[in-house]
Symmetry: C2
Subunit: 140 residues, 2 copies
C-alpha cells in the first residue's frame, strides 16, 4: 500500500467538502498499518492539501501557529497510506507508516495513560529518550 497523490482539480473538490471548524481546522486521527491509534492532531486546509499531494503527513501546530511536518525535528516521520473522512466530514482518519515513535515522550502511541479505578497507569514506557529525539533542551 503506497499513497497515490491527489492533485487538482480533484484535490480542490475534496478540500471544499471538508468541514473545517471556526478556527479553520479539522481533527486528524493517525493509526498505523496494524490499526493501532497513534495520536490525534489538527490540520488546516494547507496542511491537508500538502498531505494529500505529497503523502508526507503535515499537521497544523496550534501552539506554534504554523505547518508541522511530522518528524521535521525528531525524524519520526509519518507517510500516508490511506485517508478517510467521517460522515460529517469534520474528522479525518489517516493510516500511516510511522517511522519510530509518534509521541513526543518517546512512546509509539500518545495514548498511554490508562484510566483505572486506582488512577492513571502508564501502559507503556518510552522506546526512545525524548532528549535523543529533540536534543537535551526538551524533557519528557
Amino acid at each position: 500500500m503506497t499513497w497515490k497523490p491527489i492533485t487538482s482539480p480533484i484535490l480542490d473538490t475534496l478540500l471544499d467538502k471538508v468541514q473545517f471548524n471556526e478556527q479553520g481546522l479539522i481533527s486528524a486521527i493517525a493509526q498505523d498499518e496494524a490499526g493501532h491509534v497513534l495520536m490525534l492532531a489538527w490540520m488546516n486546509r494547507d496542511a491537508l492539501a500538502e498531505t494529500l499531494k505529497t503523502g508526507r503527513v503535515c499537521y497544523y501546530s496550534r501552539s506554534r501557529n504554523k505547518l508541522w511536518r511530522k518528524g521535521e525535528s525528531s525524524g519520526q516521520e509519518q507517510h500516508l497510506l490511506a485517508a478517510s473522512l467521517d460522515c460529517d466530514a469534520d474528522c479525518l482518519l489517516l493510516t500511516v507508516q510511522q517511522k519510530g515513535v509518534a509521541c513526543h515522550t518517546g512512546r509509539r502511541s500518545c495514548f498511554y495513560q490508562a484510566l483505572t479505578p486506582s488512577g492513571i497507569t502508564n501502559l507503556t514506557e518510552p522506546d526512545i529518550r525524548p532528549e535523543t529525539l529533540y536534543g537535551e533542551k526538551v524533557s519528557s
Copy 2:
C-alpha cells in the same frame, strides 16, 4: 474485559487532570475490541464522569447542547471496556463494545469516505437503514 467503575475520590482526581478546551470539551475517539476506529465525538466533564462511573458511554452533543447517551435514540449503545488519555491529556481513546453500528448513516464506522485520486469513494454501505434506527423523519 469488563469496565471497572471509577468512583470518587479517584474520579475527581482524574477529571482534574483532563485538559478540557475553552468550550469545556475533550475529543474522544471510540474504537471497538478489534481496534477498528468507529467515530470521534466530544465529552464535557459531566459526560466523562458519567462514562467512567457507569461504563455506558455518554458524549456531549455540541449541536443539541446536552449530554448524549450514545444509543439513547437508536439503541446502538456503546459499553466501555478501556479508556486512556493522550500525552497532553486533551484527547481520549475509548475501547468500546459497540452494539450494532456507530454511525448515524447505519454504518459500523463513521470513517467510510475514502479520499482517492478520483474523489471520495464510499468504503462501506449501511448495515441498517437510518429510518430503521431513528424512524422515518431522519434521512441518511
